[in-house]
Symmetry: C2
Subunit: 336 residues, 2 copies
């Protein structure tokens, strides 16, 4: 069975670990990774989401932190600070630096990001095929208020997503999300083919705006998901009105979506309309947490088959059970 | 007193530390640094000689090793190896990597190497003005024999100086030294001005071929030294027929110069001819080690005033004494 997953960082990576356990070693899993989080730091190309997937599935992740390498050291970062070179707010460890050095060197030599990612995965053996959503540079920027001290009037400015997320801790309202470069980006080689040939497409509990949303913003990818012959099933990243992890509520507000499991489902939309006709969305099925069972009817009223199951990824077994529930729902809606 | 020193790596850096002690804190020392050793590794610009001077004078050097940072760690290098990315033979530590990352980022942003070096020195405060010989890329290559296994015939190939020096440990004969790019390189801003305005110019006991020789290979620098109003005094890097440190004999052979204190002096040549007329060389004075006292007459016969003094840089005090001897000889020949 060919499974395609559109993944962001920590949530996507942890779900993928469960999915791998659920389907066993013979699985054919393709991961289309978000690169809108990518950032150039110290002249190096950093791909946080791709690396989180790669490190998590390859056994190199810092488990508690969810990102970065285990048993990490920070000599390079400390030296950069001694040189007065920033930013300091992005925590790159020495082991992690090596990944970015290799990536930057290969990109500089002319290899596209997809080939570089494949080369890096050659070491990590993540057990999935990891493809960046695009070889073209896309950077998610966040529109925030910029108080104008002199005039006493508020202005707006766009900051890199990482600045909003990591430096500002999403502590200021996001007024808009701009995937800079997305409109002219092309899907990386293999992305559209994987979606077309998939037996199941899964939207894991990743951030629906700045992770999955950015992937869908690359022209051709949304249409490929919407037009795929495979069932498309998603898992809610919102439980009980709050993000499972991270600050998804901050960016949902920026796109006018309520922070609820049902609202995110309606945001993605159903492929079948409520009246059984053809919808304009992406989902054939949606999983909410059992604590959100009350939302099932609301989601189904929008034409999206919905089930309530445990969605806390507390350990590998519960995560694998979530993956099995997603695959079961896919089979159910496929038969329908 | 304005002192200009043409310096290579370890030998030059250690001499400079002695010179600083000899002349005290008010000294005006400009160092023209060799960049022919520079190499691109892992996509980063590495300047071994500039860094050795900077780290040594700034208190960051690995004392026993003579190059690289003290209390260094090697997480990045170990990770690069795990990625299968080489070369492994060049030992870059984590702290050192930070220097190369900052340098490469600044070069990528358009700053010339001289401005980058100034920025790096802003942290290290070496107490001298360190200028690369050129902002243009110059790379010393070494011509070596390449046995042709198939034909049974020997060929030749040029390898980067660092490959010859660090990887091969100069274990094969150097058939020629090629400062690639030197012929079209321009002296960095400040180099010619410093030489013109100098009160004393010193050639420290650096490698006369691949350190000082490379600096002199940049068009305009040799003429500026030869035409300077200041006395030019050198210190022999050869004691008792062998290099004080390193493998200078290997590259002296490549340029047809005997490994002796007198031969190196004749290689640089005297500014005054033996008959007291105008010579075609660089030196107004030459210091040999006291164990080479027999060479004094030979050097003076070539028109170069010569003194025998202790030249082993065993500690800071003896090195400072060497610097004082060089300055004393400069005063002596200036009066003459």
């Amino acid at each position: 069975m060919r499974i395609v997953v559109l993944a962001g960082g920590i949530g996507g990576a942890r779900f993928l670990r469960g999915l791998k356990q659920a389907v066993g070693p013979g699985a054919d899993i393709t991961v289309i990774g978000n690169t809108g989080d990518d950032i150039h730091l110290f002249g190096l190309k950093v791909c946080p989401d791709l690396d989180t997937v790669m490190y998590t599935l390859g056994g190199g992740i810092h488990e508690e932190q969810g990102w970065g390498r285990s048993e990490e050291t920070y000599a390079v970062k400390s030296e950069l600070k001694a040189y007065g070179v920033g930013p300091e707010w992005f925590g790159l460890g020495d082991k992690d630096f090596a990944t970015h050095i290799v990536r930057t060197q290969m990109l500089g030599a002319g290899y596209p990001l997809s080939a570089v990612t494949e080369a890096l995965c050659d070491r990590w053996q993540p057990g999935v095929r990891l493809i960046p959503m695009s070889d073209d540079r896309v950077e998610t920027h966040v529109l925030i208020e910029e108080p104008d001290a002199e005039a006493g009037q508020g202005g707006r400015k766009a900051v890199h997503f990482q600045e909003f997320w990591v430096k500002l801790h999403a502590s200021v309202p996001a007024l808009g999300i701009i995937p800079v470069g997305a409109e002219t980006a092309k899907p990386a080689p293999g992305v559209l083919e994987a979606l077309a040939q998939a037996d199941v497409i899964i939207l894991p509990p990743s951030n629906p705006v700045v992770s999955v949303g950015t992937i869908l913003a690359v022209p051709g990818i949304r249409a490929a998901v919407a037009g795929a012959s495979a069932p498309v099933v998603g898992l809610s990243p919102i439980i009980g009105g709050a993000p499972v992890r991270g600050m998804a509520d901050k960016v949902l507000a920026a796109v006018g979506v309520e922070t609820s499991a049902a609202a995110v489902a309606r945001h993605y939309g159903g492929r079948a309309a409520a009246d059984g006709g053809r919808g304009t969305g992406l989902l054939d099925g949606w999983l909410v947490d059992e604590s959100d069972a009350a939302a099932v009817a609301e989601v189904e009223a929008a034409g999206i088959p919905c089930r309530a199951v445990p969605l806390w990824m507390t350990d590998l077994d519960t995560t694998a059970a979530m993956a099995r529930a997603a695959l079961a729902l896919a089979e159910e809606v496929r038969r329908a």
